[in-house]
Symmetry: D2
Subunit: 307 residues, 4 copies
């Protein structure tokens, strides 16, 4: 319990669209600034996506990450985590390329296929500035594809460069899937398990859901894993608090929620990091440094990347 808390800030993601919040960073400069601010506020890890600077649409080309990675590294000591989730509408081959090219310390890896229901947001944001936003959010047919073959492919592609993983688990099955790869000798601890709550298509945001994921991970992975949580939307801080109160780690950032509190848009991911620290420090814990996160997660270090 007295371990410091690893805060991950997910800077922009692929779920929220530019119309929803002016604070959502879209251009490389905005993303870099937001990541550096989050690091300065206390995030040990930044989880990164790139976007088309004109339209704000997700862009999973290695080139899109080029102006982002080095700039962050130059300005902040922070662990860089590159998404392999991309957007749920992309192929896995497409999704893996930035992490393959840039060889970061961490890459995200989604541990199962699932529905992805973003359409609930349409009623809250009826007037969207870009046609792609309406098409994307209104899509009732999205499968976020992560078959056993896909997962094996990502592991094979990235592990040779020493990249380790943020294993995103959206339901109990994803934990069992991860245990399957562990049993097969394909991954080993310390496993950073990011349990994700409250996105339609995945497990809900109820405290009982959080408890079940924690208990299941304890049962399947014992001391081999490091627990983190991500609550979608208004569940971000409550679920972060539940985790921090029991020794877990937290992920915040505009990728996961554009809100700071009820009815108040967050001005930045850094503001959410600060809010999470209030809770963490109220609990008598503190934010982990990037060095502490690297030690805990057995990362290769920021000098061993391709940027």
């Amino acid at each position: 319990m007295s371990d410091p808390v690893i805060i991950t800030a997910a800077i922009t993601g692929a779920i929220h669209t530019p119309t929803m919040s002016e604070a959502l960073p879209v251009t490389p400069e905005q993303i870099v600034d937001a990541a550096v601010d989050a690091a300065e506020a206390g995030a040990a890890i930044v989880h990164l996506h790139a976007r088309n600077p004109e339209t704000g649409a997700p862009d999973q080309s290695p080139e899109a990450f080029a102006p982002i990675l080095g700039a962050i590294k130059a300005r902040a000591d922070v662990v860089i985590n590159i998404t392999t989730g991309g957007a749920p509408t992309m192929t896995v081959q497409e999704r893996v390329r930035p992490a393959e090219h840039w060889q970061p310390e961490l890459a995200s890896l989604n541990m199962g296929s699932m529905n992805f229901g973003l359409f609930g947001m349409l009623s809250r944001f009826p007037n969207l500035n870009h046609q792609w936003e309406a098409d994307y959010l209104g899509n009732h047919d999205i499968i976020f594809r992560n078959t056993f073959q896909d997962i094996g492919f990502v592991l094979d592609t990235l592990q040779s460069a020493g990249t380790r993983f943020e294993f995103e688990c959206y339901d109990t099955a994803h934990l069992y899937n991860l245990a399957h790869f562990r049993d097969a000798g394909k991954v080993s601890g310390p496993l950073l398990i990011q349990t994700v709550f409250g996105l339609l298509g995945g497990i809900g945001p109820h405290p009982d859901d959080v408890a079940h994921m924690k208990r299941t991970a304890d049962r399947l992975f014992g001391d081999e894993y490091v627990w983190s949580v991500l609550g979608a939307g208004r569940h971000q801080m409550p679920i972060a608090a539940i985790s921090a109160a029991q020794g877990g780690n937290v992920r915040v950032g505009l990728e996961d929620s554009i809100w700071l509190e009820k009815g108040v848009l967050a001005p930045s991911s850094a503001a959410q990091v600060t809010k999470a620290r209030e809770i963490i420090e109220g609990l008598g814990r503190r934010a982990a440094t990037p060095a502490e996160a690297r030690a805990k997660l057995a990362l290769k270090g920021g000098d061993n990347t391709a940027f």
Copy 2:
């Protein structure tokens, strides 16, 4: 607790292949006999798939069901439930056709997309008689596709004929997905929720998993649902017992497990029904009749189908 237990027998399914057990029914005659025997042993519902009588491969054409449905109806008073799951490698349009054509009292409906990992069986059955069996079981790339759009399509297609559903839920998310359709007014109680445990790609078979699914269904659906369980493979009877001990219902049959007990192949689905009844009667409960199942599930009756 004193309610009788609705036993569903899933006669042949699409997971096990003919090489695995000689008892697996493949031809229409075998399927009919197995269903009638299961009904006589105490099953109130038979859950049906059809197969190619030559190769044993799943066949989801309406024609494949033609020689099966009427023959069962003529010989046994039992609720007929036609799969819309088919095999996880088929399209939804293909999968819905038999139920659309034959308008049964019940059809299964899978409540989310997921991985389907059958490859663990390959090591237990290294010598397969048919090439399709090896291709099918060895496939690490299967997504069992059930997007929100797919589910809506099945509901729209079948509800006009008064068919109701066995909602197959392989993880917590599937319960939340079902609640989404309930909240949208697309389905209403009594909802037959078949919680499924122990298939790789879905939630595991641990009692804690069973407890979490039950608690979540209680929380989301209260009195609007009827609970049933299906444990895969060797977990079939233990999970049936956990359900029956707390007022729930059970599904057995060779679709879900080819075993009777450790190391002993089941001679028939009927044998598993008999085994389940031993447990149920040991608990002071009894098997529900088809009429009791119809009343409990608000079914339209066996005379209102298209066969």
Copy 3:
């Protein structure tokens, strides 16, 4: 899971009174016969109390056990477990004497103080034959006293003779209390933990209660313990089934329930053992022999007692 199930039969106890069921054994001969029958039906352990042969009131004198112990030993190979619970209205000094004197392989030990609310039975049995029955059942002021000092006293008194324990745990706190003695080096594994459900004053009989006790015991004792359950009254068989379905052991007998099923009085503890075996064998398990129970629980053997 394939381990055989240790069935304990609790032959007469101190909760039910003679008016409630003619099957309740009261005289030494009745108790001996009931114990032998239970053993022959499949119980590996008999848990014993003695009663006044005239009134049926609990009698915790060593002398009361004299005509019982040797007679059972002469007629059946079964592990004998002598209560130190006695009746909740007795002192601990009184309660420990029979086990101290007779040095059995097993003695029960209650792991905390608690209320004991038997008065609910009064409404079901308004006409009682003995005044002591009415006084006893109508008592709203019963504390079943088992302080830390009391527990330490029983341990000190009995462990020197090699007696081991059935640790009766009526709520979560009792598990933590046991962990306290384990941490203090006063007890060590294999610990037979009898989790008790459904007696007013203790934890309830809900499956969620069973799950919580199991999970807590797993967390506190890991591989150091052997799990058994006791459901009071009509909960006896359902809770036995939930335990047996997940590798646990079971206790039945007229001490815990006078019922065989809803509305049917059990003719004997042996009949309940037989009923439990139906469930157990339906699950593909079997009843453990006394030798298997001795091995699993590290008992000293039936020859090493003082009777």
Copy 4:
């Protein structure tokens, strides 16, 4: 979730002794000041015990409360809650007298008998200033006595004056005991249920314990109850956070913990209230006012007491 959080501050209690912390208020003046400060920091309720001003020993005479109650009322708008727990070594008749005499808005009521193991503190505080402290903490034979008869007696004694209750529940059984009185028509909602974690003799402080108490209360009481938590010692803030994150209320104060964070003694109950508010406000909630607490708990108002 957007409801304000009712913070109760338990000012001095009967568990900690003066040697343990100089901040522990002992004299009437100290207790009054501490209560007023806690109210000003954001507590809507103060839970009060009295002590002998010379020795610091618990004093449960009505007279001991005389200089405290009016003085607090004169200086702060706060709900006053008088303990009927007193010290676990007192009789119930003794314990109920202050609340009977002073007719407060709230009185605590312990919902079951249990062991009370304070002796773990002896090793942390080997040198005690008063003999009573050593005798009290070293006592391994404490039963905190609250039989069904005792509870009924307290209810009968206090309800006629319109006093309502803080139902202290130290384990699952206590919730079932409360449900028993509710079913008997002796109490009705809104019931303030104070679930208590981490005191030896009661349920532990694990998040799974908190989850089980919450789930059980939800199941037994539905909308009839208001949930609050109390974590003993170092578990105070983590358990408060888990509650506040899911819509619950919190109790802090030196009665329950003398710590502010690891290794740092709390200077006052007010300091703990402030700490709890950090967490609560980080969660986007705020502290309830006394008026809001009165409305939520259906209290009679501060003018309707006998002081």
